[in-house]
Each structure stands twice: as C-alpha cells, then as structure tokens.
Subunit: 387 residues, 2 copies
C-alpha cells in the first residue's frame, strides 16, 4: 500500500489525488480510533521542511512561518462515522454515470477535503511555491460524535493560539462550492404537568398529554422564516424532535414533554432564539437543554470575497448558505470568518453509498491552491464592512 | 403467632376478625410468592369436615356439597402489591379519628375480604349452621400482575367446573357497599407516519409529531359519556395514557404513537368500543393492542337483588358501579352474575398508608353470613328479568 507520504509527494504520485484519497480512506478512522491515520498524517507533515508540526492527542497541526501579513487556517476532521454493513471499505473506483467515482466510507465526509489539505500542505511553502499568506493546517479528531469530544473544540479551549488567523476554510463537503456560515441551533423542552389518576377514573386526574395539544397545534401551524444574512438566504427550521408522556397503560399521565429543535439564522443570537421560542410557547413551561449560536457567512470580508471569486472561477460553485451546524461556527466564535469548501455532495455524507466524483477532486485542489498563491487580491469585490 | 386455623376457629379467637386479618396480612404474599399463605389457607380449610378442598398451584378451592338447588361462589385473591418502603408490615393497630384501624399491606386489597371468607368458610356448613345455598370458596393467586398470570383466569380456563355457580361475590374492597359490574377497557395506538430528515433541513421531511396534533385536539375536546346500566350509572373515561415519538435531537421524526385507553360502560361490546374509537380518530391509523369487555352489574338477578338488600340492611351500603376492571368480569364471561363486596376504601388500595377501619369488619361478615343463611328469599325486590 502507498504510504500517505508517498501518495502526497508533489510531482510524484501526489499528483494523483485519487490514489491519495484512497490511501487516506483505507486507513479506517471511526471516531475515537483516529490514531493510525493521525500518525500517518504526522509522518507526512514532519517530512516537509517548510512546516512546523505540533501534535495534541490525535490532532495534528502544521504551520508555515513565512512572515506573511495574514494567516489562513485550513481545518478538517480525520474521523468518520462507522462503516456500513457490509463494510464500505476499502475504497473502490466505480464507473458512474458522469465518469469515475471513488466509493467508500469517508470519501465525502470528509477525506476528500483531507486529501486536498495533505497535497497542498506538502506543496505550498516549499522552495519556489510561495503562498501569499502564512498557512495553518489543522487535522483533528472526533467531529462525528458528541460536541464535548470534538478535537477542534479541545484546541480552541487549550491552544487557541494554534487556531489564530484571518480566515478559515473547513474542508467539509460542499460539492465544490462555498458554503458560508451556518444556522444556530437551540433545543427546548416544552413541558406540561397534570395530575395522575387511574385511567378507569380519569375524571380524578388531569391529563398532561391532552394539555400538550396546543403545543402541537402551534408547531403544526408554524411557518419557518427565510432570513438574508450577508447576501445569503438562510432557511430556518422549527419542529418537534421528540415527545414523551405516560407511565403505564392504566394511568392518566401527569407529565408530557415535547422536545423542540429550532435552527435559526445566524443573524439571530441564542438569546433571541430562546425569546422567540418562549413567545411561541407562551403559557407553557419552556426549558432550554442546549444551544449553539450560528455563524454569519462572512463573505463580505475581503479574504472571503476573494476566495469565493477564485472558487467560482475554477469550479463554477457559487456561495450557498450552510444549514447544519458545523465547526465553521467554532471559528466564528474565535472571531475568524470561515467557510466550508471541499468536493463531495453533502447529502451523501454518512450514507452507505457515500462516494465522490473523481472529476471534482483536482478542480477543488486547484482553486484553493490558486487562491493561496495569488492571495487576497482585491478583484473588484472590495472590502465591504460587515453588516 | 396465631395460626390461621386457630384464628379462624368459630367461637374461639375466630370471633376476633382483627386477629384473623392481622394473621392473614402478616404472612407476606406479594404476587408470585403466595405459597406460604396458600399453604396456611389449605391447612385451615382441610381441617373443616364439611368442606371438600382442592389445590391448583397456589389456588385453593373449598366446596360444600349440601345438595342445595343453588350455589354461590365467593372468590378472593391472596396476593398483594409489593410492600411500601419502609415496609408496611407487620400490621399494626392504630387509633384513628373514627376508632381503631388496622394498618399494613393487604389490609384493604384484599385480605379483609380473605379474612371474612376464611371465617365464614369454617363456620357455614358445620353442624347446625346450614346455608341455604351450596358454597364454593375460591382463594387465588397473582391478581395484581399481568392478566395472563391471574389464578382465577387459570381456573376458568382449566377447571371452569370449579367456578360453576348461580351468583358470585368477589371480595375486593367496596367500603362495605356493593359495587356491581365493571366498565370494559380497550387500548389502541393511534399512529402517524411522516418522513425523516435532518432537523436542520426540516423542509425535506414530514414531522409525524406535528401530524398528531389533531389526535390530541380530539382527545382534549372529548366529553366522556355516563351510561345507565341495570339501574347503575357508569361513568366512562377516554384519554391518552402514553405518547412517544422521535429518534434523536437532530432528526425530524417519521413516527408518533398516541396510546389511548377507553373505559366503556358494560352495555357496550368490545366491538362497539373499537368502532367508537375508529370513528373518533377517523383519518388516522388505529391499532387495537388489548381489550376486555365489561360486566353488567347483574343486580336485577334475584340472588343479587336479595344480596344487595341484605347488605343495605346490615352495613347501610347501597349498590354503586365499579369503574376499574375486576375479576367480576371473569364471572360475567362465564355467565355468572357477580359483585364486589368487602370492607375497605378502594382508594386506599396499593397505597403506603393502606388501612381498614376495624368497625367495618364484623358488619361485612355478618351481612354476608345472614344472607347465606337466609338465602335468596324474595323480599319484594323480585325476580326482574335481565334488561
């Protein structure tokens, strides 16, 4: 098997992104078991004289120190969701309707992004290949599990200096376009309380499930907003993700809990989202169980605008809003504009038939490479102030 | 400790119903662990020459064979729900606001009835104490658990001949009055089906919990009927006893299930009850999960009417409808009119502070004894045909 270092060597097999992506995918790295892949990534990066390499658990960070006035951070998670049954590894090359596709776990989420990061980390900064920004490459663990285990979150808490930069690109699949920002998310429990009784004498109790009828009525009638933020339209979602009530088949239930998830546009704060839910469920007990703010797309920042234009020129992908919460929001919390950019259809992430069109790989690498070599030149998009 | 046989001896300590009841209660008999009590009951009954005694598992059946034209069956379950924490046994005599009370598990549900049955089984049929009907005393196990384990049900399936009779009295607590018949019960699941999606892109799915809003609306608006059956008014109940939906905090749920329990008057059949629910939830998937018909009070049968009059004369308790499903309905299924009759407030059954007023014990025993000695004499209530 090709080592990553061999596969990524510029001018060598590294020119073959498919071989590199296959090598990255075929080192299994389900969340919590990223060590072999992190080791291979570390070996590859330490072989590059132009990079400073740091290791934190199963995170690997590599940086150039070229004294550029600006620094761009490119980050990607090494882990995948579990394999399909039967296993969708090792990868295999399949002739698809529009050309060859690489099939297998991680090809979309998000080892195509990792392969491009590895190829460019080995390439940019070596003699004669000089980016106009300093670069920080962040490979991290445990993105596909509970947020508390997220390797990027651990770095943000323990070593925020390693994430410092003027702009960040997260290599989550975006089909070769740019997906900017993300909606926030808040979960609340809307609770009703009744009085328990034997169901044969229901009049002696108060049915908490019946009391929840207006909660479902309001949810069913709710029309989610579409909100324009920095030029992108964010579509909100609001609905029940769970309901539970009842203790036994012969008891009038004294409690019912409706769990509601609201995905709100990044122009709203968490506090505003909570206030909106409290207004919607006026008269009911509302308890917030978790919340995370969204991230504005930041495409009005000069670096981001230039990147968007570079991507449009090479891949034809124009900026779109991201709906799911991604690690882009972590950079937003650190004050760093960030976008998602990588090959692969996000709707195929986590699926048994996860696969990436080979034809998307080189253009994505080339668009990112071209922009990092050309720098954030104002091509007429200009430095628009954040609105 | 007094043995049951000593405690129940007529003219001896058996005259002291409190001592007998305490002895019965202090032999713990939580469902499934009735053996020691069943053994003690069997020993007591086998000591009575006027009784034929049969044993089936932890059921004990004792019968007179006096060649009377009619037979009355008196039945009671030996088991109790689990003890309270801290344990509410052994029993203790406490001065209550209206006189002494015996406190402890089983004093109400239903060992007060068992004590009276034991005292009368030892008494009625011995020389010089001649009942006008033949008598069958049925002591059975596992009433407080799943219906499939019920000892009376087992006898009804395997030895229906042992339960044959013209009238049955079940010693469930009725506060010294007569509780006649019982409502039927039917449980259905009302199900909605949606389309799963990520909750960040809720518009790609159909929320099954929102689809259940009209189900809760109809339940909240429903007004249960009150139905007169054989002179007693049965109050129905209909409501949700459970609701569940949702698979994860970030998924639009594709299924929601509302479990509904309908307690219907004994004038309705199970089929009619099911049809009523299907009409109420028209447009929704309705699946019956379990059902049991009710029992008409049967108080228009001559034996029952005479018994009601005898009870009224001694304890002052007039007939009332029973709402919960009790083993009275098993006798109804065998074609035998049956009522509940025993000391104890049914609302104290299963409670940690379960207790019975001592003053209720002797009148209940005396009312039953007087009627069994006097027989079903027509005292003017007359033989009304079943309506």
């Amino acid at each position: 098997m090709l080592t990553l270092a061999q596969a990524a060597r510029p001018g060598g097999p590294g020119e073959d992104l498919v071989a590199l992506l296959a090598a990255v995918c075929d080192i299994e790295s389900v969340s919590g078991r990223e060590r072999p892949l992190a080791d291979a990534v570390e070996v590859l990066l330490r072989a590059q004289p132009h990079l400073e390499v740091l290791r934190d658990g199963d995170c690997v960070v590599a940086r150039t120190h070229l004294d550029r006035p600006r620094r761009v951070v490119v980050a990607g998670h090494l882990d995948t969701v579990p394999l399909a049954d039967p296993p969708n590894l090792p990868t295999r090359l399949v002739d698809g309707p529009d050309g060859p596709e690489l099939w297998g776990r991680g090809t979309v989420d998000m080892k195509a992004g990792i392969a491009i990061m590895l190829a460019l980390a080995a390439d940019l900064g070596r003699p004669g290949v000089e980016p106009t920004c300093d670069l920080t490459w962040v490979f991290y663990d445990q993105e596909e599990v509970e947020a508390v285990r997220n390797g990027l979150g651990r770095l943000a808490r323990n070593r925020p200096d390693l994430l410092a930069g003027d702009f960040a690109i997260v290599g989550e699949p975006s089909d070769g376009g740019i997906e900017g920002g993300c909606n926030g998310t808040i979960r609340v429990e809307v609770r009703t309380r009744g009085v328990a009784a034997h169901s044969a004498r229901a009049w002696a109790g108060v049915n908490a499930i019946h009391l929840a009828a207006p909660v479902l009525d309001r949810l069913a009638a709710y029309v989610p907003a579409q909100v324009e933020v920095d030029g992108l339209v964010y579509r909100e979602s609001l609905g029940a993700v769970g309901i539970r009530g009842g203790v036994a088949g012969n008891v009038v239930p004294d409690a019912c809990v409706v769990t509601v998830n609201y995905r709100f546009a990044p122009s709203r704060s968490v506090d505003e989202a909570e206030a909106h839910l409290r207004e919607l469920f006026a008269g009911f007990e509302v308890v917030v169980t978790d919340a995370a703010g969204g991230a504005r797309p930041g495409l009005d920042a000069p670096l981001a605008a230039a990147f968007a234009q570079a991507v449009l020129a090479v891949t034809g992908g124009s900026p779109r809003p991201k709906y799911g919460w991604t690690d882009v929001a972590r950079f937003a919390q650190l004050g760093i504009p960030a976008v998602n950019f990588a090959p692969g259809d996000p709707l195929l992430a986590h699926k048994d038939d996860e696969r990436v069109p080979v034809a998307q790989l080189a253009p994505c690498r080339d668009a990112l490479r071209a922009w990092l070599l050309a720098g954030p030149v104002d091509r007429g998009v200009g430095a628009v102030s954040r609105s």
